[in-house]
């Protein structure tokens, strides 16, 4: 068994601190009572969701009444979105997958790290369950050094990528910009006349890519008047409730968004930016995000499995949160991004696409947003740049963490009760009606 260098191992604590869901622990303690089930206690196999023919009724998770994204049901649901919702395929094509190569090293199990909230040092193993980890895969120099599955996931399963979907859509956007097919200075309203009179109309593509648009849009779930609920209702592929008169699709909702503040000033992490970008991409290329992600990425990386997106009532993929995919295929995408578009010596897209992501977005606009957990960071192409001395950048929600200096890619799928920065961005495609 090859051994990882001490130098590589030393990078892991920082990475794990950054991607550890538990940084939200204090908020978590407030939001949930202390007897919330642990990872073991809430293991979906142990709880027996959807087992048996039929499952006993209190163990059914289905449409429309089961509240399927509530904890602990969501620990089953994150691997089974297609069984609850209409979906669109991201085809891997018909060829043979390219197997990953393995150089496993269980020294990783001995790593200790300190969560960002400054709580006690934590062992690697403990972090897996504290994070409600469903899958974790680490590549070093392109080889798998660590692979772990739990809960609802195994190597042949697909897991909701949640907000990491944004980074896939953003990558497509950056590819089109780097190729000159999409002008980042163009106004969204010029590309999509349907959005000309909305808040998006006079925003630039770059402002979408950096989420510095000024939009009257709140994702505060505790506020029943927050716009997220209207978006949620529009997005549902299920029949609309009797008397419903609001927007019926992602696109219809986007056209109703009102301005708030000026574009370009402050970073604001708002799901609808990515759905607007998905629409820009579709109009620009004549292909849906699903189709483009298949032809540009999934069919080119030797993926083992198809991915899929949840869709709204007219088949529009949820570009901001609807992707489900295999853990190994997500790490293939991470490695492709680390390699600036090169796989097996072949350049799939201009390196400039990744360079822009890595450089990050406006740091002043980002600082103005006051993100506690990413001080000095920025956001570009729907990826987060840490601007640390390794030049690390990451897709968040679920996690793709890329450290170019350490030649490392980490992909982590989890189903945390709080779902930290996760659930809010998924929910629009999930809940029906209001």
């Amino acid at each position: 068994m090859p051994r990882l260098t001490r130098r590589f191992i030393s990078v892991l604590p920082l990475a794990m601190s950054t991607i550890f869901v538990g940084w939200a622990a204090p908020a978590f303690a407030q939001a949930f009572n202390s007897d919330v089930l642990s990872a073991d206690e809430s293991d979906p196999n142990r709880l027996g969701w959807m087992q048996g023919f039929p499952p006993v009724s209190e163990r059914v998770i289905g449409q429309p009444d089961s509240n399927y994204f509530s904890f602990p049901k969501m620990r089953w649901t994150v691997c089974h979105f297609r069984e609850l919702l209409p979906t669109k395929q991201v085809s891997r094509g018909l060829g043979a997958p390219m197997p990953l190569t393995y150089a496993l090293d269980d020294a990783i199990n001995d790593v200790l790290f300190t969560p960002l909230d400054g709580s006690e040092p934590m062992s690697w193993q403990v972090s897996l369950s504290e994070n409600y980890t469903d899958g974790l895969l680490i590549l070093h120099q392109g080889q798998v050094v660590y692979e772990y599955y739990a809960g609802c996931l195994d190597e042949a399963g697909q897991h909701g990528a949640m907000s990491v979907t944004k980074s896939m859509t953003g990558l497509l956007g950056e590819i089109l910009v780097a190729e000159g097919a999409l002008d980042e200075e163009a106004l969204v309203g010029d590309i999509l006349p349907e959005l000309a009179n909305s808040a998006f109309g006079n925003a630039t593509v770059q402002q979408l890519l950096e989420m510095t648009t000024g939009l009257a849009y709140s994702e505060d779930y505790s506020d029943p008047n927050a716009e997220i609920w209207a978006y949620n209702a529009a997005a549902s592929p299920l029949p609309k409730p009797e008397g419903y008169s609001g927007p019926r699709t992602y696109y219809e909702y986007l056209a109703t968004v009102q301005p708030e503040g000026e574009h370009g000033q402050v970073f604001g992490y708002k799901t609808i930016n990515t759905d607007a970008l998905g629409w820009v991409i579709a109009r620009t290329t004549g292909e849906s995000v699903t189709s483009l992600l298949s032809s540009r990425i999934w069919q080119r990386i030797g993926a083992e499995q198809d991915g899929y997106f949840t869709v709204d009532s007219i088949g529009t993929p949820f570009a901001a949160g609807g992707l489900s995919a295999g853990l190994r295929d997500m790490v293939r995408v991470g490695q492709l991004v680390l390699n600036e578009g090169v796989i097996n010596g072949k350049q799939l897209f201009p390196a400039a696409a990744v360079e822009r992501i890595r450089q990050g977005g406006g740091r002043q606009a980002f600082a103005a947003a006051g993100y506690r957990t990413l001080p000095g960071g920025s956001y570009r192409g729907m990826w987060w740049s840490l601007h640390n001395d390794h030049g690390a950048f990451t897709a968040r929600g679920q996690t793709i963490y890329i450290d170019p200096t350490a030649e490392m890619v980490i992909v982590r799928f989890a189903s945390h009760p709080v779902a930290g920065n996760t659930a809010p961005h998924l929910a629009p495609s999930l809940s029906s009606g209001s």
Copy 2:
């Protein structure tokens, strides 16, 4: 290019007569007015269903209002069920597909044949469009001699297998019988106590496999009181209508089925037999039909694509009609059946499973049903035996046609306006509410 023998070519007219949807032509003429669109006129690409971002509203096919299985919309829908309904994967596994080998021979395009209704001889090419063919693939001695795609289908797409799904479920049933895991003399009510008080209770597994159960169940769509409508309402994965008090799943419906006539006397082609068989299989093996079809077949045949099943509100796959799959993968299954379970020199299941299918079911019970188009035929394991001098047998709805003497497998996907013996058995998973 290798040439097919004259002997092989001479077999094709008989096969095509048998699988030609147009045998229903007189009924078709009655049911539809003469200006029904031709295959070309109704091509889903030409009509522009679901094209554009968003599609124009009159070209949207979605849940729940679009009546998506009506002609000509259904010519798009047959390749896109997953975009309209929740589905469950039939995994191909993660390995490399086994490529098919090709020995194409366009002499097939010159074949002439006479439809079973005795109308004028028809050329091969004309039959493709008269059948609203979406895909046709012919294997001879294990090699592809003909491959054709049209309409919504291409080599990387999946098409509804419709009632051919029955033959997949039936094959699993016959495998379990041949392996001794399932006793064909056992009473359904002994295996499934939930069905003990229904008409299925005192039927044997064999009677399910041959569809000779005596059930009060009509699939006459023109009769608003036909049981099919209650089944349809139970099967829908969508929210039930306000005030709905009927059965809510496939299983709940099956428990309500009342007896009519005696078991074992007369063949009656009734969808619910296959869903009952699917339940028997799940209870016997502890695996759903989707999971078993994956582990026993799809992962072993070098499939290029995953298949999938539509599901009801508790995730039960529609064992009688819910499968969608790639054309090439269906022909791999057909070849496996032709070879009595052998693939690449490996015996995947006892040859006896296929022998029973090929031998067919009770011919007297079949004759008593008065099937015009299969005189002298029979039904066993949810496959139709022609009992002709080639020993041909077939999965119908869509088509797998196996001629052991000619060492030939034909798979045909189509989207005919009448949908012959097709639509009725699909509809339960499709329409919502009543």
